[in-house]
């Protein structure tokens, strides 16, 4: 892209009569079809590879939030939550829990998501 395009693009963007039009996917489909017909023999291998890829996908949100939960920033919230879980499970064993850990869970989740948010947006497209 030359320097002249930069100026014309700027003018186009500012001009009230300019229109943006989506480009049609040109000729890709033909090429793909040709490739597909060629690769019919090796389609089984491709499927296996795809399955491997699917297994490899890990949600970055979960890993980042797990890191954040164990970080120093969220240690008070995690401490309270763990203590509450321990207490409530003990109560349940003794017969009937008198409380729940929803509030502690909220505080921990709030801390973890807030800590993970910028890192998550850096990894997502």
């Amino acid at each position: 892209m030359g320097i002249w395009e930069t100026f014309t693009d700027l003018v186009d963007a500012a001009a009230p009569w300019s229109t943006a039009e989506a480009e049609a996917p040109a000729e890709e489909s033909k090429n793909e079809k040709a490739e597909e017909s060629k690769d019919e023999d090796s389609s089984d291998d491709a499927e296996e590879e795809e399955e491997d890829d699917e297994e490899e996908i890990v949600d970055p949100k979960e890993t980042l939030e797990e890191e954040c939960k164990n970080s120093k920033q969220c240690s008070p919230a995690k401490h309270h939550f763990d203590e509450c879980v321990e207490r409530v499970t003990k109560q349940e064993e003794d017969g009937g829990a008198k409380e729940d850990c929803v509030e502690e869970f909220f505080h921990l989740a709030h801390c973890a998501t807030q800590c993970a948010a910028p890192k998550l947006w850096a990894t997502l497209k």
Binding site: A24, P25, K61, E62, V85, D100, C101, F105, H110, T113
Partner: protein, 320 residues
């Protein structure tokens, strides 16, 4: 100052308590101004106790705030994510819109309608003309009544709206255990928290509810939903959708894309609005500067002029 006034008031109280019998004695004692230090200390202690007691009573009455709802009923407030398209000078990422529309079609459209979006609005923002036409033709719509008054079916056109998965709300409720899946056309504007809420709701299902939490039968635990019991189960799982641009389809990626798409559905004018806003700001800045300059230009001679009154000199000889 405060302590002194307190002391004085307790002294008055004490004297009042002593009553009229010691009236004469008190008169004598005040005039001599010789109170014992023990009585003074007692008065100070009593007034302090009264002060602390009144503060405690006031705090007991008005101090603790009354919450109408528990945190669980309120729901967890979503974290603010740094959405790019929410910045002042940014547009929607149209590649993300395309991915988000794919997620909507393959996942959400099974239960949720998008009834305010016609195919024509997808042209140029999400799909090309040919793709949108092809998509529209996959569905059948009612025609106008023909000569015999019969309503026939025709393939869809660009001007048709995206069809709903259920005939009406009752059918939707019947199919979903009594819960109505809301229409998604304006969901981003219609929910407190907007994009952040939708993204958090979609990705926020924990593996199991926290200990002690009550989850009704047929509901699922989601901390972001007010009341924490939501009829919609988790739908987005890693690798559920295969993107055409080979973006890894993790849960959060799909949720982000579909949220951005739904934001476009709710605010399709956003890109144009921001562009227009920039133009308005640029033009009005120039006009403001111009008007200030013109004002100063016009007022300069008026503001800088000096009016002098030169009185006529008195003549020595008076005219008759």
């Amino acid at each position: 100052m405060l302590a002194r006034s307190c002391l004085r008031s307790t002294r008055i109280l004490n004297t009042a308590r002593n009553g009229a019998t010691s009236f004469a004695k008190r008169n004598a004692s005040t005039s001599s101004s010789a109170e014992s230090p023990a009585r003074l200390n007692m008065a100070a202690a009593a007034s302090t106790a009264v002060a602390i007691g009144s503060v405690a009573w006031y705090y007991h009455l008005y101090g603790p705030t009354a919450q109408a709802m528990t945190p669980a009923e309120e729901g967890l407030h979503p974290t603010a994510y740094p959405w790019v398209h929410e910045q002042w000078l940014k547009t929607f990422d149209h590649q993300a819109l395309r991915r988000g529309f794919q997620v909507y079609q393959e996942v959400c459209a099974a239960c949720h309608s998008l009834s305010r979006i016609p195919y024509r609005t997808l042209v140029g923002t999400v799909l090309t003309v040919d793709e949108a036409k092809e998509l529209a033709e996959q569905n059948e719509y009612d025609t106008e009544p023909n000569d015999e008054g019969e309503i026939e079916k025709r393939p869809g056109k660009l001007s048709d709206y995206i069809p709903a998965p259920y005939k009406n709300d009752e059918a939707a409720r019947a199919a979903n255990n009594g819960a109505l899946p809301p229409d998604l056309s304006l969901i981003i504007k219609g929910r407190h928290g907007g994009c952040n809420y939708i993204f958090s709701l979609l990705t926020g299902y924990p593996e199991e509810p926290p200990a002690g939490a009550q989850v009704q039968a047929g509901l699922n635990f989601n901390p972001y939903f007010p009341g924490t019991g939501i009829a919609m189960a988790r739908v987005l799982y890693d690798g559920l959708v295969e993107y055409e641009d080979e973006t890894p389809a993790s849960t959060s990626q799909m949720a982000k894309d579909v949220t951005e798409f739904l934001n476009w559905a709710a605010e399709p004018e956003m890109d144009d609005r921001k562009k227009m806003g920039m133009k308005v700001l640029a033009v009005s800045a120039v006009l403001t500067a111009l008007s200030i300059w013109v004002k100063r230009y016009k007022w300069a001679p008026i503001k800088s002029r000096k009016t002098i009154y030169d009185p006529p000199k008195a003549r020595k000889t008076t005219r008759l």
